[in-house]
Amino acid sequence: MAIPEPIFTNSKSVIAALKALFKVPNIPSPPLTKRQTLSAILRPGLSATKIASEIISRQSQAGAIIGANDDGSANISEKMEVIRVEEIIKAILLDGKITITTIPGQQTTPVVNGAPAVIVSTGVGYGVMS
């Protein structure tokens, strides 16, 4: 990635160059396997309770208290965690939209009973969330 050389006598130019240094280039994800794609149909779906409980159980990694506070009072941050995840999941499930675009498939020539046969796949679908 080319980083612009600032004009060192111009403060705004130096600040802009420093900010540009923090930009992380887009890194593409590794491709999905057929098994991963096909198994998607069997996925259980999102659960706010399950996500929140996973987060709360990992709180100790960041040094946060799990369960009631030392004085016995309820742990508000845990309650907040449940509310936060519930709202996020609700928004994703109720408002989120995925538009699927199908890219035309490649032509392949498998051998059927000793003779080549042309099969055109139905294409690969990509979803764009909004």
Partner: protein, 495 residues
């Protein structure tokens, strides 16, 4: 986005990247702790230093300040080039031949080419060495058989020379020859110096280049004493010119800051400076006065976080290290230099509780680095450069629109570094901008490499995360398919 918001964003990015790197968020440090972020001033050096401290991988003293000082003396050529370019492009737009010059080319009061007042100090005194820098006695040739028109002191070495020390000798003997460029005559009664040019068969531009190349502009030893002076006022407080000199230092430092703040926020390349720019407000005057009194009373200029502490930096603290720098072989200079900085910072924080020592050390180093522009600028204002500028002033009728080759008198009174800046404002601005840009570039490159390290760790984390995500998805898929098989087997077994 605004200037301050942009600076805040950079601190936030550092905090986020550090949190990721360390796995534990450390976002509780609010940016309001940093005055340099909230500052509207254009000078970015305090901001860059705070940023380096916040990133936290480099020692300001070992990795930034010591290498900066070593590097700064190597900026000599760049600063000389800037001087030549500005003189030839701005002051004298048309290059011209010097063959028509009337000798002497300059007849000037010695004080008007000596803004720092160095020439008043005996070079052989205990403190003289701090002002004159590198001892070059072996390069001077004192001519014994004095005849009319024969100079009594000659400096003939081809390498860059200590002109200030040479001039001091000229003042004692009455005349001197500087390489094959200048012939000087000094009248002790009138304290006036006549400057004659040995070779007028040249152009103005060639003369300026040759002249500046004949001197050593930046010297490690004078750089050193200047730092101590600018930050602590220690050396000058030992001289009889101390009090006025300290005030002049503080005023010039303030003016340098004002110029930097104006230039760095300006959208245009050339700015004009009228006289009102150089007038201090009452607040600025009070600030300068209180700093001056603090220095005279032996207090540290650096705010150590618990008010201004009494400094333990005195003459003896650095005298030995200073001698080592001047007299040792070049390969030992670096070590002596490093020891000097260590002793200086140790002495400065000696009286503080242990828990305050580290943060105070950082503050002192920041103060040192922030003062470097004033320190280097002081070296540039040495008698040689001032003499050249006085000569240009004397021959110019109307700033580049015409020249008068028969006028050796400059009417400019240069009573200190402050008046140097005011009288030669175009040159001063240009030099200050150059020094500032070199320091900012130096700090920027260190920060750039640190930020790129942080970002590289972030990228590596993202890649690892994505690969782990796919692995987990594959395992999940395997698990789901296994579940389905089990259910189907169960159903089949029941039928």
């Amino acid at each position: 986005m605004g200037f301050i918001d942009d600076k805040s964003d950079i601190f936030n990015e550092v905090a986020v990247n550090r949190a990721l790197k360390e796995n534990f968020p450390e976002l509780n440090k609010t940016r309001s702790l940093f005055n340099s972020v909230k500052s509207k001033q254009g000078n970015l050096i305090p901001f860059l230093l705070d940023l380096l401290v916040e990133i936290g991988n480099k020692s300001l003293k070992e990795d930034v300040f010591k290498p900066l000082l070593e590097k700064s003396v190597k900026w000599e050529e760049e600063i000389k080039d800037t001087l030549v370019e500005n003189i030839t492009n701005f002051y004298v737009k048309n290059n011209f031949s010097l063959s028509g010059l009337t000798q002497p080319i300059l007849d000037v009061k010695i004080k008007n080419i000596d803004p720092k007042g160095t020439l008043k100090i005996d070079e052989n005194s205990d403190i003289g060495k701090f002002y004159y820098g590198e001892n070059q006695e072996q390069l001077f040739n004192e001519v014994n058989n004095v005849t009319p028109n024969t100079p009594t002191v000659e400096f003939n070495s081809n390498i860059g020379g200590n002109f200030t020390l040479f001039l001091r000798k000229v003042m004692k003997t009455g005349s001197g020859k500087w390489k094959d460029i200048f012939l000087f005559e000094y009248d002790k009664d009138t304290e006036k110096l006549k400057v004659n040019l040995l070779d007028t068969n040249t152009t103005f531009e060639k003369f300026i280049k040759k002249s500046l190349n004949s001197i050593k502009l930046l010297d490690l030893s004078t750089l050193f004493s200047n730092i101590i002076d600018v930050v602590f006022g220690t050396v000058s407080s030992l001289t009889d010119i101390g009090e006025g000199y300290i005030e002049d230092l503080l005023k010039s430092k303030e003016l340098i800051n004002k110029i930097i703040n104006k230039e760095t926020l300006s959208e245009t390349e050339f700015n004009t400076y009228d006289d009102s720019f150089f007038v201090f407000t009452k607040e600025e005057q009070d600030n300068i006065r209180s700093k001056k009194e603090a220095i005279i009373n032996g207090n540290n200029l650096v705010n150590l976080g618990c008010g201004q502490g009494r400094t333990f930096v005195d003459f003896d603290s650095f005298s030995e290290s200073f001698d080592n720098i001047n007299n040792f072989r070049p390969n030992l200079v670096k070590k002596s230099f490093s020891n000097f900085i260590d002793n200086l910072t140790k002495d400065s924080t000696a009286n503080l509780p242990d828990e305050d020592k580290e943060s105070s050390l950082i503050k002192i180093i920041k103060e040192f680095i922030d003062s470097i522009i004033a320190v280097i600028f002081q070296q540039v204002t040495q008698p040689f450069v001032t003499m050249i500028l006085q000569f240009i002033e004397s021959i110019l009728n109307d700033f580049g629109l015409g020249v008068n080759l028969t006028n050796p008198n400059s009417s400019l009174e240069v009573g200190g570094i402050e008046s140097f800046i005011i009288n030669f404002r175009e040159q001063s601005t240009c030099i200050i901008k150059k020094i500032y840009s070199l320091i900012v570039e130096y700090l920027f490159n260190i920060i750039k490499s640190e930020i790129l390290n942080l970002v590289a760790r972030k990228i590596s984390r993202i890649i690892k995360e994505k690969s782990l995500q796919r692995k987990e998805q594959a395992e999940r898929a395997k698990e789901l398919l296994k579940d389905v098989n089990n259910i189907l087997s169960f159903i089949n077994a029941g039928t």
